[in-house]
Amino acid sequence: MRLLPLDYAVRNLGRRPTRTLLAAASSALVAALLVATAAFVRGLDRTFQGAARGDTAILLSSVAERDVVRSTVVAGLGELVAASVRGVATIEGVPAISDEIHMGTNLALPGDKRARPGFVRGVTERAFLVHDAVTLIEGRTPRTGEVIVGRLVAEQLGVEPVALELGKELSFEGAAFTIVGRFAAPGTTIEGEVWTPLAPLRGLTRRDDSSATFVKVTEPAAIAELELFAKRRLDLELVVIPTAIYYKELADYFAPIRNLSWALAGLIALAALFGGANTLNATVQDRVRELATLRAVGYGGWALVGSLAQEALVLASAGALVGLLAARLFLAGSSVRIAMSAFELTVDAPAVLAGIAGALILALFGTAPAAWRVLKLPVAAALKEN
């Protein structure tokens, strides 16, 4: 099959500039939308995957139904584990075990009239041994009356980053805290958290327990030792969950949001598909005598379909390129607030590929009704059309 020259397809796009621009804008929108959706979903997935480690497990209360905020474990659980369980990782002789309080609470900035839901974690210095994705990027570790904030806390609270600069104040549970550090934990939900020393937080919240204990082991198989410990110490009412499983379950909790995002993107893409199909159909209607002439000259129906597909693909590619640039410009580095955390959108190669592939596939499918019309074109009658 010999196709018409690509020039023919490209120059045809200039025949109806408004129609061409609208179709390109539609392609750009679809590409940008698909990139945004893919970036959102991949960012969400990456966040949970980032926090999941094969060599780390969480000890939770067995009655907390795997909810770390509702969980309560004895205050000295970390020391008990260090003394009883083999295979716990040590760093410079210090066991990588972190007793922690996790709490969802209302945070307030000076002058705030309304509460801002946030997530606070009470930690010791050992938390940095277990959560090794966490890096202090500014300031120092907190002491009593002080906090350090994750890189995405400003986004999570819906405030300007300047409001959380070092030295600024943050209040919760009726007490004011000074921000003394900022940390990063790329690709994890931790970046949306506020960390403060564990013992003062216990006093403030009148608790004599912890929410959970995070334990890093020397190898994944050593998690079995932790499970054995939990079984032996029935009095502690513990359950051991590897973080890989814990965060996967959390990710599954957000599955409906992911699915809804794709469904919305799909519906909008479908609308664009019908719009594109309508445009191409109108194109065939406008050029019916010209197409019939090309058939009379000797071009087969499929050659004309190929030319129409070329037109659609050239247009979709140009539109997609604009859409991708816009997506890159506006989405890269931006973050999304979700529940009591936040995560960064991931505009990576698969997300971009989703945008390009989506726009091109839509263009090809959009050609179908026009292609059918061209293939069924009654050449003799069409030659007489005005």
């Binding site: 010209e290 058939r295 009379a296 000797g298 050449v379 003799a380």
Partner: protein, 228 residues
């Protein structure tokens, strides 16, 4: 020797609720090298017959053989290939692609033959020279007069050097002077390049250019006379 043979060809089509039969058991033979003119009033079936000869339509009954090839039963893709190689079609309106220059319009059929760019260039130049429009090669159709557009259409029809030229009222939309010029060109191609021309017209002045004329009326073909 007969190049085009129609044997008891019938063609019907639907027009609203009515079935129209423009051709009923029509038989016709056109020799190679003839300039055959088909006359007849509007709606007499002239264009239908021409479309059958040019293989862009099929008969409901009967046989059409052109150059020994049975066209009535050939597949759609075979007919496309056959048209590209054997027939040049000149329409009542030039039907040029508006976004392509005269040169590019003439070049269009050559892409079907997989020729090199140099070979295509050579053939297009010859075709445009033959129709006297070598100096208008870069013009878009909207920059040409009606007569010039029709000449470009003729150049497009002859560029692949087909043995048959079919022309459907090629002067129908032209002023007298342009019409004469187009008819002279067709006549020249018939005489000098030995093309077999089948032309449909309802204009007796245009019909004078033919070496044989027939009249199609109410589905019947009648001999009208011989050439001047």
């Amino acid at each position: 020797m007969a190049l085009i043979e129609l044997l008891e060809v019938t063609k019907t089509y639907r027009k609203g609720e009515h079935v129209v039969t423009p051709l009923a058991n029509v038989s016709l033979s056109v020799d190679a090298g003839e300039f055959f003119v088909l006359l007849g009033p509007s709606g007499s079936g002239k264009t239908t017959l021409l479309n059958l000869v040019a293989a862009i339509d099929r008969p409901d009954r009967g046989s059409i053989r052109v150059g020994g090839v049975e066209l009535g039963t050939a597949s759609s893709s075979k007919l496309s290939d056959w048209r590209a190689e054997h027939v040049g079609y000149v329409f009542q309106q030039a039907n040029l692609v508006p976004v392509l220059t005269a040169y590019e319009n003439v070049e269009l059929p050559l892409f079907l033959f997989g020729l090199s760019a140099a070979e295509r260039h050579k053939r297009v130049a010859i075709a445009l020279e033959a129709v006297g429009l070598a100096d208008r090669a870069t013009h878009l159709p909207k920059q040409l007069s009606g007569g010039q557009e029709q000449r470009v259409a003729i150049a497009r029809a002859i560029v692949a050097d087909p043995e048959i030229l079919v022309a459907d009222e090629p002067t129908g939309n032209l002023d007298h002077e342009s019409a004469e010029s187009v008819l002279d060109l067709l006549s020249h191609l018939h005489r000098e390049r030995k093309k077999t021309v089948v032309m449909v017209t309802h204009d007796p002045r245009a019909a004078r250019y033919g070496t044989r004329r027939m009249v199609l009326d109410k589905g019947e073909l009648k001999e009208e006379g011989t050439a001047r």
